[in-house]
Symmetry: C2
Subunit: 452 residues, 2 copies
């Protein structure tokens, strides 16, 4: 028969089993962390009506979207989890209690040009808090605590949550008479990290057409950095000149004030006035998160406060605050850099039961007993030589092989072989279950990400 080559599309991640186990571990850490803060899981369709998904329309989105006809329906695959959330909240408004807090970890689709480390199908892991009409600043203050908890659970210790407030930026631009150029200025300032202040200043003068002293003002403002108290004190110098600025400053003070009560160490947090986040969408606090020893990865968790989640679907004012982790890309980069733990058990099972006799009943019963004792157990059923059986155990990386020969059966015991140390012990099945579980739990206490 003619064969079709079994290929996977480029830009679509498909992991080998042991890598997949690591990915599952990351997802589980996110689910646990998000749940701990009272976010409820949601699951929305991958396919939506194109009209609904593109209600906002325009821009890059429309070009990248997977859109197609089925019958006479105009359909599209979701390209993020925010638009489906907006639709969900608008559609289910009367069934929900506000503030409504949800997390969603799901695949989204963008037909970008394929290149290494860029994906067309990728997981986003989002949380959002949505208010009905209004939403207290305390929700914005809580986001760094969620990020801190999540990153810590993943095993990352060297990271910084960078926070700014769009009202501060907008107020600052207003009081310098630069409101109209605010967007352009922000995009230029965004290059500070890459090209430095000198070149940014030149761009502000040459391309944004600003007077030199005004561009100097911008750079001076962006250069304000230090610990929270210092940055806030420098911002106090601008107070009283623009109401938007003042409101932003108050918000930033509140966000900073409760850090300690939220359990976020100051070393993992920084006010950074250069953070703007591109989208017009954001109106208050904005967040980025950097792995401090891997700045080349960019922000691994970003988001902010917005005023109008679902304006394309409803007249209801639905302000919110949310953050998103690009999980597929994060996994890819961490894996590439060898930052995923090798200590965790990533084999399909914790114990492989190997029958050594013709009659396999006792081996079956042993596997059942181990499972009842909470051990992930595979029964090896193939009739092969011992060497092939133990070779399989080795290849799947199982922590323990459990051997059942005539001696063991006669004694009502199992031989439990630690595949790492090679050590082999005889014990009863309940002892074996406890011994294996203890050992595996110990190894699995390691976090999934292991920074060097």
């Amino acid at each position: 028969m003619a064969k079709v080559a079994p290929r996977t599309l480029s830009g679509f991640m498909e992991l080998a089993p042991r890598d997949q186990m690591k990915m599952e571990r990351m997802m589980q850490a996110l689910r646990e962390s998000y749940s701990l803060f009272g976010f409820t899981p949601l699951d929305t369709p991958v396919i939506e009506s194109a009209e609904v998904l593109l209600a906002k329309g325009g821009g890059e989105t429309e070009k990248q979207i997977y859109r197609f006809q089925k019958g006479d329906s105009d359909l599209a695959l979701r390209f993020d989890l925010t638009v489906p959330l907006a639709k969900y909240v608008a559609a289910h408004y009367s069934e929900l209690s506000f503030p409504f807090r949800r997390y969603q970890i799901g695949k989204v689709y963008r037909g970008e040009r394929a290149q290494r480390g860029r994906f067309r199908e990728f997981y986003q892991a989002d949380i959002d808090v949505i208010g009905d009409g209004k939403l207290d600043i305390l929700n914005e203050a809580e986001i760094p605590a969620v990020i801190y908890s999540t990153f810590t659970k993943l095993g990352i210790r060297k990271f910084k949550i960078k926070v700014n407030n769009r009202k501060i930026l907008n107020g600052f631009y207003a009081l310098n008479g630069m409101s109209e150029k605010a967007g352009e200025i922000m995009r230029t300032v965004d290059k500070l990290d890459k090209i430095g202040p000198h070149k940014v200043k030149q761009l502000l003068i040459d391309e944004v057409k600003m007077l030199p002293d005004k561009s100097e003002n911008v750079l001076d403002f962006m250069a304000i950095q230090g610990d929270n108290a210092y940055v806030l004190s420098r911002l106090e110098d601008y107070r009283g000149m623009d109401p938007t600025f003042d409101q932003g400053l108050e918000e930033l003070i509140t966000v900073t004030k409760y850090l300690k009560d939220f359990g976020v160490p100051e070393e993992n947090f920084a006010i950074d006035l250069t953070i703007a986040r591109g989208l017009d969408y954001y109106t208050g606090t904005v967040y980025e998160t950097e792995m401090t020893e891997h700045p080349e990865i960019g922000s691994v968790c970003s988001g902010g406060r917005y005023d109008n989640l679902a304006e394309y679907y409803t007249d209801k004012q639905l302000p919110g605050v949310g953050i998103s982790i690009g999980l597929t890309r994060l996994f890819y980069v961490l894996n590439e850099q060898g930052l995923l733990s090798e200590e965790l058990v990533t084999s399909p099972c914790d114990a492989l039961v190997i029958p050594m006799t013709e009659e396999v009943g006792p081996a079956v019963a042993a596997a059942t007993a181990l499972r009842q004792g909470g051990v992930r157990t595979q029964l090896y059923g193939e009739k092969r030589k011992f060497k092939a059986k133990i070779g399989y155990a080795d290849k799947i990386g199982v922590p323990f092989a459990v051997l059942l020969g005539e001696d063991e059966i006669a004694a009502g015991e199992l031989s439990v072989k630690d595949m790492r140390s090679g050590e082999q012990k005889r014990m009863k099945s309940d002892e074996a279950a406890a011994y294996i579980r203890r050992n595996v739990e110990e190894r699995n206490r390691t976090a999934i990400i292991s920074e060097k």
Copy 2:
């Protein structure tokens, strides 16, 4: 601004938060049960090349599939998890260890005519064991144990795993000289439950064009039922006449023999000679699972043994055995019938911390302490009247409200209100965490499905 109606496509399930929590619970039970048997999780793309997905081609599949162009690529959404598995195993053959055991819980797409309880996007939850060249019968014998463990974990007690063997059927038809009509006969016999033996006999005579005595033979054979020992003894009468039949009988004996060692009670298991499963694909043991008090739901977990997983992609002979649960439909039906537990905690959090003072620092610290104590905690940050705050607690169905007024703050304590009983107690935050956790764990020990 003109609004777009925020609708969800028909045939696409989108659950309210508390129902979604129940769905998550079901998925978690499946993940745990499948993992316990040493199946490793896989995740394959939702989109595949149409050429790859339709390598087998033809039939209903092609009509129902979501297929579209993107650039010059001919793409399609997966319509099951078996074809992607075949592709995966063929593509990653050299990286895998055989037998390869994987589970996958993922969405699949079929553009069927939308009707109540039928879905166009739905979860399947599959396990498969794939051998390289051959695969021992012990793997087929293990499947009922996986089904038993899974259903028990879900909370279903009244169910029956029905097992047959295609070789027995094929052998039986061969020795009656009906091999050519086997497919038609099986499809007709499949109606036994619905229309009864008398009408089936008529159909066999009128439509399948069988002689009356031959159709009698078929019905006599299908009518063999009773406990395993009895059915097997009746099947012994046919031994020695057809080699395929004999092999099937040996396999069925093996599958039955280890039930007890696998921990499967006989009452949850039955040999049922009327089970055939439609697909030509199956070649050995076949499985269906019925909720005995809800036969109208049909089989909720089905599958079987096949000889050639990936013949469209590779010359390698890859026999396997697998089962599939149509999770979305199962959830839908159970929910409709009120069979999902109301005891489980389905609120976004276990504790809602409500600040009763202007200064919210102590409430923030209390929420942090509860989280550190493992309690899923939401901090209520909105500045509203007490009645609105406690009304919110009530509406989200949270088990505990934690109140922080001046008295509590002065005493360094929390007031913990049990929202069901109304009982309110003062305690320190670590006591509160332990108390809430204990109570919630107790409620969550209930299985997700609760049969009346």
